[in-house]
């Protein structure tokens, strides 16, 4: 063991990084960006879930529950009619509502058992949890007033159901995500290898047209990506039994669009990297922010306002929402929300195909 030889290697590594400004920027910049994003996301005073209170009770106890909920900090509750609440639940405007029946005060005073109906949108377990918690907290206040009341809510789900769990929620998003990211990384690296091993130079000196190269790449990787999509989908539905009430063909269509977008994003971004090493660096830059902001883990509706705006620009947000629309809500192409999701993903596909084809020309000439 020679200290000077070890030192030589250490020194050489530091020297190499001194020249690679891009890697240095990534090494010291990316963690701060990602942590700042995460911090803002979780502590930035994000929005709380919205819920409705339908109070049909004429007695004092109904108003007590309503006012306790209205002052709650974990939900944003407002009073509304039942018809209104039902409509807003369907449109996704509120995550749930509690229904206090007309004989609510009488029930509490006579039977000491309250079973109010809590209607939940159900597609986002986190939001459903917050609402159930807030409702039960409001009944703690009631128990203090009326003395010894047993609270057993009757939960009605619009989507999902009592057995709908976190995997069902994440599963829908991850089916698309896994395909998108793996295909992106593999295409970017493959295209860089083509450049690095000199074969791209050879292709550019042949009668091949740029569009033929991009199209050929796209079809080749799309074949792989579609097989992968089918595999991921089959495993999720048949082995993991991820909740799905939608049309499997529609899920596959959306996945295929994401795969095509990923292939072309890979070709496009590989133009901005010289080595495979630099291509891998796109992962924290391109992929991590999308993981945090596309509503995969944290619902977009509960993000701080400025981040919501950013989320609504990311194409992945629409892809994730589209998959959840299909799998959890059973949406089909007649739903305007799914039309929007599909439209955005399709538009993004076309954008990156064009971007890839134009950049290829510029870099080579």
């Amino acid at each position: 063991m020679s200290a000077s030889r070890v030192q030589a290697i250490t020194r050489r590594i530091l020297q190499q990084f001194r020249r690679d400004h891009r890697t240095l920027a990534l090494l010291f910049g990316a963690p701060l960006v990602i942590l700042a994003l995460l911090g803002y996301l979780l502590r930035g005073g994000g929005e709380v879930p919205k819920m409705g209170v339908v109070n049909l009770d004429g007695g004092p106890l109904g108003s007590l529950v309503a006012s306790t909920l209205a002052s709650s900090k974990t939900v944003s509750a407002s009073s509304m009619s039942q018809a209104d609440a039902e409509a807003r639940l369907k449109s996704g405007d509120i995550a749930g509502y509690v229904l206090l029946p007309s004989d609510f005060t009488a029930q509490v005073q006579q039977q000491r058992i309250v079973t109010p109906a809590v209607h939940l949108e159900g597609s986002q377990p986190g939001l459903s949890q917050s609402i159930l918690q807030s409702v039960s907290q409001s009944f703690v206040a009631l128990a203090g007033q009326a003395g010894g009341v047993q609270f057993t809510p009757r939960v009605v789900f619009l989507y999902g159901g009592p057995s709908f769990d976190t995997l069902d929620y994440f599963g829908a998003a991850f089916i698309g995500l896994v395909v998108f990211f793996l295909v992106f990384v593999i295409t970017a690296v493959a295209f860089l290898r083509e450049r690095g091993q000199g074969t791209l130079e050879r292709l550019m000196a042949s009668p091949l047209r740029r569009a033929e190269i991009v199209l050929g790449y796209m079809l080749g990787f799309t074949v792989l990506a579609l097989v992968q999509s089918a595999e991921v989908l089959a495993f999720s539905l048949l082995v993991l039994h991820v909740h799905n009430v939608g049309n499997v063909a529609l899920i596959f269509l959306l996945e295929a669009l994401m795969a095509i977008a990923a292939v072309n994003l890979g070709i496009f971004l590989s133009m901005f990297a010289r080595t495979e090493f630099q291509a891998v660096q796109f992962i924290p830059l391109v992929i991590v922010p999308q993981m945090l902001l596309a509503g995969i883990i944290f619902p977009v509706s509960t993000e701080p306002g400025p981040l919501q705006a950013l989320s609504h620009v990311l194409p992945l947000t629409y892809a994730v929402e589209g998959l959840r629309n299909i799998m959890i809500k059973g949406a089909d192409l007649t739903w305007p929300s799914l039309q929007l999701d599909m439209g955005v993903v399709l538009g993004f596909c076309i954008l990156v195909i064009l971007a890839g084809a134009t950049t290829l020309r510029r870099r080579i000439a």
Binding site: R202, A205, L208
Partner: protein
């Protein structure tokens, strides 16, 4: 064909990379059926000149015509074979699959066997490229450049890293192809290779210093060895 007197016609080509002039007003012509050697040290502009012949470098001034057409033009590219300095191959494919791929790009998969036989790789055609030796890779790369039977062959330092025996074999093949009417532009910085060319262009700092047959260049410099001629002509600009 008779309307194309020159396989390559380069007129006053200038190309800069930043401050550095890679080509500084190069004019040269390669006749059909000729083996033309581009001779010069590393960084002289040989590769840039060859890349300009296939349209990968756009000249800032001057014109490049190949096989009678101003470049770049896709139809002309189909008649050029280009062998890059580095053996540009797909390492995961076999030798035959590589040659077949480039054949398919040019629409000439019928030439795969001929090309592989010409470089003595037919017996090793099923070997994956990453398992081949450096010399075999060079030959495979040459086969890829030959598969469509091009009228003009551009070879960028084809014999770098090739052992003397194979070098003799390759030159033997280049001569045969030229005899069959193909034109070849070959770059090199090895003087003994230059002796095998019909005509030579000495290039340095992006300028063509001298042009002619080996004998012409030697007599112009007034020396017996090509190496001395090159050194002498480098000192006084032509």
């Amino acid at each position: 064909m008779a309307t194309e007197p020159y396989a390559v016609d380069v007129e006053g080509v200038v190309k800069r990379f930043g401050q550095q002039a890679a080509l500084d007003g190069v004019t040269l012509r390669v006749r059909r059926g000729e083996v033309y050697g581009l001779l010069g040290p590393n960084g002289a502009g040989k590769t840039t000149l060859i890349r300009s012949l296939v349209g990968l470098v756009a000249p800032e001034a001057g014109t490049v015509s190949v096989l009678g057409h101003r470049m770049p033009q896709l139809e002309v590219l189909a008649r050029i074979g280009y062998m890059t300095q580095q053996a540009a191959l797909y390492p995961d494919l076999s030798a035959e699959e590589n040659v077949h791929f480039f054949g398919a790009i040019y629409g000439r998969v019928d030439g795969v066997r001929d090309a592989l036989e010409l470089v003595d790789l037919w017996d090793r055609r099923r070997s994956v490229v990453s398992t081949l030796s450096g010399g075999m890779r060079t030959r495979c790369s040459l086969a890829c450049a030959l598969v469509h039977k091009p009228d003009l062959l551009l070879l960028d330092e084809p014999t770098v890293g090739v052992d003397p025996q194979l070098r003799v074999q390759l030159w033997d093949r280049f001569r045969k192809m030229a005899a069959g009417g193909r034109s070849i532009v070959v770059s090199s910085h090895v003087m003994d290779e230059a002796e095998r060319c019909d005509r030579l262009g000495l290039i340095r700092f992006g300028k063509l210093l001298a042009e002619g047959t080996v004998a012409e260049i030697k007599s112009k410099a007034g020396v017996d060895r090509l190496e001395d001629a090159f050194l002498k002509l480098s000192e006084s600009p032509a």
